[in-house]
Amino acid sequence: MGPRLKLFLPLFLFALLALVLFRGLFLDPSEMPSALIDRPLPAFNLPALGGGQQLSRDDVTGQVALLNVWATWCVSCRVEHPYLRELADAGIPIYGLNYKDSDVAARDWLDELGDPYRLNIADREGTLGLDLGVYGAPETYLLDARGVVRYRHVGVVNEEIWREVLQPLYLELEQGAITQ
């Protein structure tokens, strides 16, 4: 490489970076890979948080429910947690996917902050997360009664998101489940 040519290196690297950024503009980080919307929840066989039973797909399906991906290392999960408890108190079934976390920390967290989850799947390696296309925690998936993923929300679920986005879908799916 000539001495002058070497000076073009930063420009070349920047061009690569700009390409990635350009591509990034058309990807929505909060968007689920479209392949999974309206597809069944991937099959899995993972332990429940706190040991004991193995959980599979059938344990979290059967009614319209939320599947909440959370972790103790996740900043926003803590913000979200109180609202999940409100939802759980209101009778909304919520399943937890404890994502790439340590069991001890996760149980301490639930002891401290309260446990809104019916069941918690301990996904220590993030395998189910990978199948689901989890980008980061928190994420919340809306499952219909047959265990089909109907919607994915990336980020904190708060009152506004619930009222305007999730609840209408939830009610619609519940109606469908009753009439079926």
Binding site: G2, P3, R4, K6, L7, F8, P10, L11, F14, A15, L17, A18, L19, V20, L21, F22, R23, G24, L25, F26, L27, D28, P29, S30, P33, W73, V75, S76, R78, P82, R85, D108, D111, E112, L113, G114, L130, G133, V134, Y135, G136, V154, G155, N158, E159
Partner: protein, 658 residues
């Protein structure tokens, strides 16, 4: 009417910026001194009009003009006036106006305080800054007009500022951060001007050093405030999360740190010329990249602004023009031949080179870690997230490499030094540092190897500085005389390096020795934590200007003596209904006590509480303040303002050069 004046002023500012970007640059190219001499006036005019625009926007917020869309969606009549004002930049559109305001302030400052600069250089510098202003002002006007109206149908009340942003720390955090980001545009403009002029000599380094130091100091303060805010406002005692937005401010800081040191070598010894120019371009490019990442929505973050692909595209094109353009210019104009100035391996130059390598590697690893999810996604290989473990794994060894070199830096000599001299100079500090490193952690059982390492490194840094300081004083005839002989540049270095040592101690001590308990407490319960007794008295209802809160009362005692009354709160903001945790903190130089409220448990008034004992956490922020103070001190060095040659002669030479 006022919003329209603001809008109009912003358009006029864009016109002025366009003229500033073109006419003086043309003048510099053609050697037309009339065109060049327009630059300072235009720069001041730019500041005036952006200032008017900003003032109009602030007025709209303070007067609750909810017919302005921005005000309606980010303010509320109940909001305290202080927060109404800071709400101006608590959103995307307004923060862009603040960006533009700060950019025009830096531009005007360069125009006003650069009488020693040759007109040719000054006009080029101001033109480059004008071009950056064109980019940001048009970004604001085209994609994110802050003055858009909601007419008809203005709401009676606004939907409030995000409660997380209703905090004194966040009033000054964004302006300080932007002062830093935008301040690097000055170093960038000087670098581009030097490339355009084809004269990369020591003088451009001397001109840009005070500006770079100042910008770096502001950025340091901005990052520090952000971390402090996260600590007390987010409610779980963390102070750094490696969040993409934090990384966005940290990358320019790392590149800026390398630049500050590299500029020293370029100015004093004429070394690393191309490299320093490249770092100046990097530092500002990373600032712009940070802006892109935060506002385009390509990465998710707790801080994210509203996502808008059109805005993302605009910044990307701007980024490509600025960074691509400057790197092309660099590739074409930077001296390809290595300078004839030589230095030994045992010399201050090679130590500075180590500094540069460490900080650049650090900046690139943070960049890589931040971009990795996006790269994987763009290649269609799925979605991943990169968390704190990656960053910590990279950062700890890098900093451990840096500090030994840093300790040598102040005592080293330029060009050629002797390893034997280093040995004899630093024998005593090394032994004392080793002694401290081994013994001090014994005070706290169990023995902690990380703390030992941190104490060893900081003591080494501190003692090296003290030794050098002492020697400089001793060589003078009298103490006051010796003190007077120390330049602000030297003092600034000492202060900043001491700050860095304090930072290391604070970070390591608080990460290793913090104790936290999450527990259920009934009123009347008392718990012990690290020798302090926390007694939970009661929970009362309190009302703030725009929120209602449950407030817990705690009495903290140690060995029976009262230490503090602490009142953490759980607030519900009236306009948005959001719930926020306000931690109560009893701050001290050697420890913080921290209480945050969780959720009520059961019916009998019990609450989940989080109690923290955080030793030496303040040292981290005090260290950052010292670093900033050091940089300000160094920037105040008079020698940067001395004229090297009569300005007129300088112009003439420079003009012939062009």
């Amino acid at each position: 009417m006022i919003p329209e004046i603001g809008h109009f002023a912003l358009i006029l500012a864009l016109c002025l910026a366009l003229i500033l970007a073109s006419v003086p640059a043309w003048g510099a190219w053609r050697g037309n001194s009339v065109a060049m001499s327009l630059a300072p006036g235009l720069a001041v005019g730019l500041l005036v009009f952006v200032g008017i625009s900003f003032a109009c926007l602030a007025t709209a917020f303070l007067q609750d003009d909810f017919s302005v869309k921005l005000v309606a969606s980010h303010s509320n009549t109940l909001l305290p006036p202080m927060y109404k004002f800071s709400a101006v930049w608590g959103n995307h559109e307004g923060s862009l106006v603040l960006w533009a305001l700060i950019l025009s302030m830096w531009t005007a400052a360069v125009a006003l305080f650069s009488s020693q600069l040759p007109l040719l250089v000054l006009s080029r510098v101001l033109s480059v800054m004008g071009a950056i202003a064109v980019g940001f002002l048009s970004f604001s006007l085209v994609t994110s007009n802050p003055f858009a109206r909601l007419l008809p149908g203005a709401p009676a009340d606004g939907s409030d500022l995000n409660p997380l942003l209703q905090d004194p720390g966040l009033i000054i955090h964004p302006p300080l951060l932007y002062m830093g980001y935008v301040g690097f545009s000055v170093a960038f403009a000087f670098a581009i001007a030097a490339l355009l002029g084809g004269r990369l000599d020591a003088s451009w380094a001397r001109w840009s050093r005070p500006w770079t130091n100042t910008a770096w100091a502001f950025l340091t303060l901005g990052i520090m405030l952000g971390s402090w805010w996260a600590y007390y406002e987010l409610g779980w005692g963390g102070w750094w999360f490696w969040d993409p937005v934090e990384n966005a401010s940290f990358m320019p800081w790392l590149a800026g740190t390398a630049l500050v040191h590299s500029l020293a070598a370029t100015e004093k010894r004429g070394l690393f010329k191309s490299w320093t120019v490249l770092l100046a371009i990097f530092a500002f490019s990373l600032s712009l990249l940070g802006t892109f990442l935060v506002r385009s929505g390509v990465l998710t973050s707790v801080h994210a602004f509203a996502v808008d692909p059109e805005r993302g595209m605009f910044i990307l094109v701007f980024l490509a023009l600025v960074v691509g353009g400057s790197l092309t210019l660099y590739a074409l104009r930077a001296p390809a031949v290595s300078s004839r100035v030589t230095f030994d391996w045992v010399s201050r130059e090679s130590l500075l080179l180590c500094n540069n390598v460490v900080f650049l590697v650090a900046a690139l690893t943070v960049l890589f870690g931040t971009m990795f999810p996006l790269i994987v996604d763009a290649l269609g290989m799925g979605k991943v997230s990169v968390g704190p473990p990656y960053f910590n794994a990279v950062f700890v060894p890098l900093m451990a490499l840096l500090v030994p070199v840093m300790g040598l830096g102040p005592v080293s000599r330029w060009k050629r030094d002797a390893a034997g001299r280093w040995r004899s100079e630093l024998m005593v500090p090394t032994l004392v540092a080793l002694f401290c490193g081994v013994t001090l952690p014994l005070l706290q059982a169990p023995y902690n190897i990380w703390v030992a390492l941190a104490v060893l490194l900081s003591a080494w840094l501190l003692l090296g500085l003290v030794k050098d300081f002492w020697q400089r004083l001793r060589s003078a005839s009298s103490l006051p005389g010796g003190l007077r002989r120390l330049t602000p540049g030297y003092l600034g270095m000492v202060i900043a390096h001491l700050g860095f040592a304090a930072c290391i101690i604070g970070i390591v001590a608080t990460s290793q020795y913090s104790v936290e308990h999450d527990l259920k407490m009934d009123p009347g319960d008392a718990r012990e934590l690290a020798g302090y007794e926390f007694r939970f008295i009661e929970v009362v209802q309190v009302r703030g200007p725009n929120f209602v809160a449950d407030e817990a009362r705690f009495e903290v005692t140690r060995d029976g003596r009262a230490v503090a009354s602490m009142t953490p709160q759980k607030r519900r903001y009236l306009a948005s209904g959001s719930v926020m945790t306000e931690a109560a903190i009893d701050a001290g130089l050697f420890r913080d006590l921290y209480v945050a409220m969780g959720e009520p448990v059961g019916e009998e008034g019990a609450w989940a509480m989080r109690l923290h004992y955080k030793p030496m956490v303040r040292w981290m922020w005090l260290g950052a303040i010292l670093m900033a103070a050091g940089a300000f001190t160094a920037a105040a060095d008079k020698r940067y303002r001395r004229q090297r040659m009569p300005a007129a002669a300088g112009n003439k030479v420079a003009l012939h050069g062009a």
